[in-house]
């Protein structure tokens, strides 16, 4: 048994393989149950954690192989430009709607967090930690530390937000009657960054393209707005 764990710990393909297998288990469960909560990323990462815990494999030896998957995230995000280019006409036609949509999302985010901070009497640090929750990790981390937030917690919150967004996107769009593909994409991208975008790409080409755009624009706007919001509130 120990020997097995050693072999696994040394293998580069264990982390990679287990990630893909667990993701596919998630896809399989979703297709069988058709539940929104049966989300492949959610099930996938919970299964990976379960496997690591059961066989007592350290996070580091898992990441030894799994990190190569993370490396591909940058090129994949770059590739979001391709569907966006193919929908460029749609983007030009709806530029005002898209910009105002993303901007209103940022204000809604700030307002919700402000309300929660008042309700639970949370301080400035917490506010700065939570504000960049809905943008892509690389931007969120920087915004958090620059405005005086706690970087580790921000990263965890960004991750949770992404998973939540990926899981609830379908249901929220249906319940609140967001059915225009451009609006759907903007909604998902500005609320749950690249992780939500993975869902938007599944929904359709337009949704994916617009979601990718929303991630970039809302990320950049958050860099500009977060310090201003912080000054306004505190």
């Amino acid at each position: 048994m120990d020997r097995l764990v050693d072999i696994i710990s040394d293998s580069l393909f264990f982390g990679l393989g287990i990630s893909i297998i667990c993701y596919f288990a998630g896809v399989f469960i979703r297709e069988r149950t058709r539940l929104a909560i049966a989300n492949p990323i959610l099930i996938g990462f919970l299964l990976v954690i379960a496997v690591l815990k059961i066989f007592d494999i350290s996070y580091d030896s898992y990441m030894n192989g799994a990190k190569y998957l993370s490396y591909l995230l940058t090129p994949a995000t770059v590739c979001l430009a391709v569907p966006l280019y193919e929908k460029l006409k749609l983007l030009r036609e709806n530029a005002a709607a898209i910009f105002l949509g993303i901007m209103s999302g940022i204000i809604a985010n700030a307002f919700t967090i402000w309300l929660i901070c008042i309700l639970f009497t949370l301080d400035e640090t917490i506010f700065a930690t939570i504000i960049p929750r809905s943008v892509t990790t690389a931007i969120g981390m920087v915004v958090s530390s620059e405005t005086g937030g706690i970087e580790n917690i921000t990263v965890a919150l960004i991750c949770i937000t992404g998973i939540v967004g990926n899981v609830i996107a379908d249901v929220v769009c249906r319940v609140f009657k967001i059915n225009h593909p451009v609006a759907k994409g903007i909604a998902i991208g500005s609320s749950s960054h690249v992780l939500g975008t993975a869902k938007a790409v599944e929904m359709g080409e337009t949704e994916g393209a617009m979601s990718g755009l929303a991630v970039a624009v809302s990320g950049i706007l958050t860099v500009i707005c977060a310090p201003l919001l912080l000054n306004m509130v505190y």
Partner: protein, 130 residues
């Protein structure tokens, strides 16, 4: 070779994104610079869609799996998260729903009103012709 060529173009743009991140003073990640560069290259015709299409379709298809390792990373920050897990989960859910609904509805409302105006204009034109 087709795939090698396509992949190398995408990797080169990712690298250019990283360079921009190093030399520009803004806190924008390499991937977002890369996205902008790729869009610019496609718009100016430096790169044609066919030159990156196959590999980019593949990468976008695999994208969800790429988030598994980062999510497993939550396990590492478990000791920090444990005490605030419930409020954090509630906050993220409520916040995500509110942003999703507001930005989605606002975008949709503006698009719809614009399309309506466009239709009205077209109807007027038709009426004039009559």
């Amino acid at each position: 070779m087709r795939y090698v060529k396509q992949f190398s173009i995408i990797i080169m743009i990712s690298f250019a994104g990283e360079l921009l991140k190093e030399f520009l003073p803004f806190s924008v990640p390499a991937s977002i610079y890369g996205l902008a560069l790729m869009l610019l290259a496609l718009m100016t015709g430096i790169i044609r869609v066919e030159q990156v299409n196959d590999v980019s379709t593949f990468l976008l298809d695999v994208m969800p799996v790429m988030f598994i390792p980062a999510s497993v990373g939550l396990m590492e920050s478990w000791h920090v998260m444990q005490s605030i897990l419930v409020p954090a989960a509630i906050l993220c859910t409520v916040g995500t729903i509110s942003v999703m609904v507001v930005s989605g509805r606002v975008t949709q409302r503006i698009i719809m009103s614009r399309e309506k105006r466009k239709n009205q204009r077209e109807n007027k034109k038709k009426n004039k012709k009559r």
